[in-house]
Each structure stands twice: as structure tokens, then as C-alpha cells.
């Protein structure tokens, strides 16, 4: 794939050998190329964590910001320049833990962006603490007696929020994951891809083998237009279903902004209208 113009060959990748992130990197890179996206208009936004390093290894614009804060940054980029393709990606701790509030409200906003969450059910970069998606009983250096919290079910929550696009993929299924990523990027509106990824160093439970054994595609008769069905399938724990659970056309955030009502240009192309401003000043100035 060295001709892939999104590839950044020769960079020093900081992931462990065997990490599921390599597969995600390949799949994202291939999807960007397959969609023939304009490199100059493709922006990746990430937080902090192992997953969040991904943009460093691609030839794209990127904004590698704070732990947990990729979604507000991505939303604003899209809202400031609607010509850009925006992908927000990070780990499960980043997106569902520290960033949980943005996850909720970004879905409510429904900006046209893709949200890829590397779900390895653990905090990789900080050395193996539980993440919101870690299973009950999962023992870590911090959760010495095992996790006692209910695991966060991102799909069920997204469907409860009536998210516009909700999917789960597993990095081990290369073709299927590419197809899901492609559909997610092409979807107009917010699209969640919860992407199962083995962390070979800190998650000895949810391994490649485990995922292979405990995942299965959604039944072929699954109707992504049916919210109740989507929710029911999202609640299933064994097997974890893979595929597009829910999809819906909804009004897109940035299309409804008053700022674009009269002027479709990105904000950076605009200049202050001084005459108009003088008028506004007078209007406000009459007490």
C-alpha cells in the first residue's frame, strides 16, 4: 500500500508489536484512499492515548489535542469550514471516560463527522487501568479486585441518543471494518464506529482469539432503520454483534447555523463588513 498517498512511510510508530492499532491504521488509511478523499481537506482530530497517536502516522491534517476533547474540536472545525472531511478518533478511555460529556452532546448536535473509537477495553498509554468498557471483574494494577462498574455500552447509549449512525467493528475483520468505516465517513451526520481492538500488552482477556470467538455479524435481516431492534441488538452481550446497528437521516448541525444562512463560505474567507457593523453599533447603542 505504499502508493497510498495518505501513508506516512518511515515514521517511528510508538505502538507495541502486535497491537490492534496497526490494523486500524491500515484500515483507516485504505478507507481514506478508497473514498478518494481530497488530502488537503481531510482532518483527523484526536485526544491522548495510544489510539490518539494514529493521525501522526498518516499524511493528513491533524489536531492532536487533549485527552477526552477530540469531539468539540472536530465539531468546531467542521462548523468553521464545511468543506472539510473531519474524523475524530481516540481510545475508549478518551472518548467514553474523560470525554463522556462531549460524546453525549456531540451526538445531540449531529455534526457531519466520523467518530472512531479504538475500543481495547483498557487504558493502554497509562499502563493498563480499567476503561469504561472493561468487563466486570477485569483485574488491573489499579482494579486489584476486579472492575465493579457496569461496562459502558456505547452503542446502546448512542442509540438512546438517537445518533445518526451507530456501528461496531472488529479490527480483525479487515474487509468488514473497511466497509463500515467507508459507510460512516460517507454518512451525512455524526457517525460512531466503536472499533474493537486487542491491546496485546495490557488486556490479556480480550485478545484476538477472544474477539474472534465472541463477535458475530449482525443477522442479515437486521434493519438499521429500526431503533428498537438496534437497541435490542446493542444490548446483546454474547456474541457482540458487528455491523451497522442504526442509521438515520437527521438535520446536520452546521447546516442549520445562522452563520451560513446568507453566506455558505467557510468563516476564514469572510471579512468584517464595517458598514454593517456601524449600523449594528447604532442599533445596540440606543440603550
Amino acid at each position: 500500500m505504499s502508493e497510498n498517498r495518505f501513508a506516512r512511510p518511515g515514521c517511528d510508530v510508538a505502538w507495541c508489536p502486535g497491537c490492534g492499532n496497526y490494523g486500524i491504521l491500515n484500515q483507516v488509511r485504505d478507507t481514506l484512499a478508497a473514498l478518494d478523499l481530497d488530502q488537503q481537506r481531510t482532518v483527523l482530530v484526536s485526544g491522548i492515548g495510544q489510539a490518539a497517536k494514529l493521525p501522526q502516522y498518516l499524511r493528513v491534517h491533524y489536531f492532536n489535542g487533549l485527552h477526552g476533547r477530540a469531539l468539540p474540536v472536530a465539531t468546531a472545525i467542521k462548523a468553521s469550514n464545511r468543506n472539510l472531511t473531519v474524523i475524530a478518533e481516540s481510545g475508549d478511555g478518551d472518548m467514553y471516560g474523560e470525554g463522556g460529556n462531549h460524546f453525549l452532546h456531540c451526538i445531540r448536535r449531529n455534526p457531519d463527522l466520523t467518530n472512531i473509537v479504538h475500543n481495547n477495553m483498557v487504558y493502554g498509554l497509562t499502563k493498563g487501568q480499567a476503561s469504561p468498557t472493561s468487563p466486570r471483574g477485569f483485574v488491573t494494577p489499579l482494579q486489584v479486585d476486579g472492575v465493579i462498574l457496569e461496562p459502558f455500552n456505547p452503542l446502546a447509549v448512542a442509540i438512546a441518543l438517537d445518533a445518526a449512525f451507530v456501528a461496531r467493528a472488529y479490527v480483525g475483520n479487515v474487509e468488514e471494518t473497511r466497509a463500515i468505516l467507508q459507510a460512516a465517513i460517507q454518512h451525512r451526520g455524526y457517525a460512531l464506529v466503536d472499533l474493537l481492538q486487542p491491546c496485546v500488552t495490557f488486556n490479556k482477556l480480550n485478545t484476538y482469539q477472544w474477539f474472534a470467538a465472541h463477535t458475530a455479524p449482525l443477522p442479515s435481516d437486521h434493519d438499521p432503520g429500526d431503533r428498537q431492534q438496534a437497541f435490542a441488538r446493542a444490548c446483546e452481550e454474547e456474541p457482540l454483534r458487528l455491523g451497522i446497528f442504526y442509521q438515520k437521516e437527521k438535520p446536520v448541525f452546521e447546516e442549520q447555523l445562522a452563520a451560513y444562512a446568507a453566506d455558505p463560505r467557510p468563516v476564514h474567507e469572510r471579512r468584517v463588513d464595517l458598514g454593517l457593523l456601524a449600523t449594528t453599533m447604532r442599533e445596540l447603542g440606543w440603550g
Binding site: 468546531a76 448536535r109 468584517v272
Partner: protein, 569 residues
Amino acid sequence: MATPPRSEVALLFGGEAGQGLQTLQTLMLRLLSQAGWHVFAASEFMSRIRGGSNSVTLRAAPHPVNAWCEKVDLCLILDPAALPRLQGRFGTETVVVGDPRSLGEVAGMIPLPLQELSKAAGGVLFANAIACGFLARLLGLDRELLNATVASYFGDSANAQSAANLAATRHGWEAAAPHAGCCALLLPSQPRAAAERPLLLDGSAAVALGALAGGCNFIASYPMSPSTGVLIHLARQARTHGVVVEQAEDEIAAINMALGSWYAGGRALVSTSGGGFDLMTEGLSLCGAIESPLVIHLAQRPGPATGLPTRSEQGDLELARYGGHGEFPRAILAPGTLEDAFLCAAHAFAMADASQSPVILLTDQFLLDSVYDIPDLPLADRPPETQIVVTAADYQRYAPSVNGVSPRGIPGLGAGLVCVDSDEHDAQGCITEDFAVRTAMVDKRLAKGELLRFDLALPPRLYGPADFTSLIVGFGSTYGCVREALARVDAPHTAFLYCPQVYPLPAEVVDALLQAQIVIVIENNATGQFARLLRAETGRGADRQWLKYNGLPFSVEEVVAHLQEEDWS
């Protein structure tokens, strides 16, 4: 109780939230302004929507006024709780007006039968117009002007609401007959021609207009008193001026959105108060790390924590200076007048853009909620240009440069890639742990601080003799009361140094401190933050500190008293 005509007047209205003090304030401001006076109003109110006890101080004078005073010439009392709360401010000559039906008998009070008249006029909604008519007559104002003002406020006179309010105004006017002119203003002032109308703005509007003048086209914020006004003003202008406006889910989202917008070429603002600013400090640090421009409006109110949500303090200066972890440059602008609120807001965008650093606009509730007339706001000749470059294929976001500023590209404009990283990074924006690169990047970032201190700085202004020996130093909203007090007291060799830029300290501030034999720092907080900042930066602190921290701004009288306590010999 009638007193000789006055050359200026201070009115005080006390009432509950929901009783329409704001409407009355606006009506009286317009009326007095139209009558040719300079006007000023400041309100103090509780953190509740209905009830409680609030007040508005409104001044009219032949010269510009922009300070709060305690003295009251004419006081309108609308609720029983107001009287005990406010009467400490009454002098022997204060004329008190109120409705005996709600207040009971009060010695010397001019009765305004508001309940009765309101009922007759059609309900409590008309109380403001009645009061306005009543007060206008006590002040000896012109009846035609009164009618014109009321009519224009309530829409054209054909409309029913307007007509009813005009009638109510008349009832008020008539009820005041026995006391007409009892509090008359001296000059038979010339009404202004419509073309000469000054601007009547509050601080929030001035900041919002300044932001627009600075090219602001994006605001994401979370409501928080007293910062919300700016957000609302920009929301109202979203369509006209093409501003992306979003109420964020929290302050963390707000600042990260603002950074995202700057990254994509926007000129973004966030508006918040102390507690929200706390939550933004990690984003502030990110701003420093990725070298993004950013303008943050920090509208102060008394803390700590929720504190007094609707009151005033200058207690977050050190937060603005030191908030956010790690080391990176920033600037803090603290305007004390409406013109400066406008100019500082506009300049903040230019500064942020040119230095690729955060600029904090530090205001407070008093400034934001104060209204007065100013002739005009100084619009620039040309719209501001965002300093972004069209990137070449080999573009490096953090290319080394002498003053620390690297050309800023944005995605979608040019052939290069724009890579920004919150980790330490190399010139390209890639993560690095190279020790030499780290040192170079720290130096590069800090170098930009010099731009903020010199090239882009807003100098202080000195009022008083250039050869002063005593120097009063202040920032932000203490401006008005210090200037007015100095005009009243004979304080030889004393000057006032007003600092609209409090960090980094412009060279002129340092020079003035060195010249002074006695430095007095006035600030609206308990621990003397500005004095400490001056000492930290220059080694020269305050010899005397004038502090106030009960939730109210300084009054002119308090500053006069402080001045009189000084030994000017």
C-alpha cells in the same frame, strides 16, 4: 423638601427582581440623554429571577459620568425591603418617592400611588411608565420629550401598547403635580437632535461590538453570569454578521471548540466567568502548546466557587495570569471604559492572531452591566485580516523564527499539511522527546511573550502631572471612580496610572512605578492581586492598597475618602 436646582443628579431605584427596574432604567437613561445630559446607570441585583431586592443607580450630569456613587438625590422605592437596604445612602436632602400602600407611612416620603395608578392604567406592567412620568416631572423635564421617549421605547405610537404606556406616563406626570420640579435639574438643557444622539451602551454590548470589530466569527460558550451578555449579543448578530454561535455542553467543550475554529481559520471567542475559566485552563494550556490564537472573555464576579453570582469583584487577575499548567505566553487586557472594552476586545483578536497566543479580556460585572453614553466607538478603517498563509507542500507549522511566530496555515488552504500536537513536537508538529528540540520549542514559545510586551502592547494612560510623586495604579473598572475622585480632591503631585494591559506589563508601567515615591494600588479584591503582580514582575509593590471585596464596586465617595486619608504634604 424642594431643594434648589442641581447641576447634576443621582437617582436610585430600589425594587424586586421582576418589577421592571431595567425598563425604568432604560426609559430614564434615554429621556435624560435626549434632554441633553450625560447619563450613567449601574445596577446591583441578587441572584434570583423574581423577588429579592435590587437597585439601580442612575446619574445625569452636564459632563460625562462613568462611575458609581453612593450619594442619592432622588430615590424611588418599589418594595418594602429596599428602604432599609438603601437608606444608608440617603442624605438630608434626598428626596424619597414611594407608594404608601406598599411601604406604609415613611416620614418625608413623596407619595406615588403606584398600585392605584397601575390598576387604573391596566396592570402592573404599566408601573414603569407611570414612574417615569412621575420622576420626569420631579426632575423638571420636558413633557414632550418624555412622551417621545416613551413612545419610541414601546414602538410607534399607533400601537396599542405604546398608547397605553403613554397614558400611564401621563398619569404619573399628573400625580407628580404637587411636587413638580422639587428635584429640578439646573440647566434648561438643550434636547439633542436625533443625529447627535450618543451611543447608550452597556459593557457587554461594547465587548460584543469590539469582538465583531476584531473579526470574531465564532463563539462557543456556556452561560454564566456575568459573561452571558456577550454571548447573547453575538447570538443576536449571528445571522447578520455571520457568526457561528454555539452553546456548549460545558466550558471545556467551549474552549476546545474555540481552538478547533481557530485551527480551521476562524476567529473564535469564549466568554465565561471564574468557575468556567477554571475548567478552561487545560484548554488554555493547550492553546499555549499548539500556539493557537484565542480570545477568552473572563467576566469576573466574587468567588471563591459560586460566591456572589451577580455581583462584582476583580478577584481573578491572578487566575488569568497563572491559570493553566506549564509555561507559555499570554496577554491580559482589562478595560475600564466602554471605549476600551470595545478597543480591547477588538485588539485582543489582533494580538492573539499576531502572537499565536491566548489573550484574556478581563472584565467584571460592574463594567458589563454599567450603561452610559459615549459619542461613538472607534471603528477601524479596514477590516482585520487573519494572519494565515497559503501553505506550500513542505509547510511546517512550527518552523523556527526569530520572534517565535511561525507562519500559520489552515487545512484546505495550500498544498501543505497543518499538524498540531499537544505533546511536545518538532517543527512539523510531530511528537518528539528530543531534549534539544524541547528546549528550542520552549524558547520559541516564550519568545512570543516579547511581542505581547512590546510590539502589540496597549500602553497605560497617565492622568495627572507628569512629574508625579504619588501614583495611584489601577486596572479595569476602577477607572471611573478614581478619575472622578481625583477631580474632586486636591491631591498634589498625584497621578493615576490606568493599565488596560495588566500582563505582560508594558514598559511604561514599569517606568511609572520606578518614578513614584508612593505607589497606591486600587483593586476590587481582598488580597491585592495586582499589587502582588506588580511586585512579582518589577520588584516594586504597593506602599498602600485600597481594597474592597463585599461584592460592590468602589464608589466615588470611597475613593475620595481614601484620597483624603492620604497625607499629600
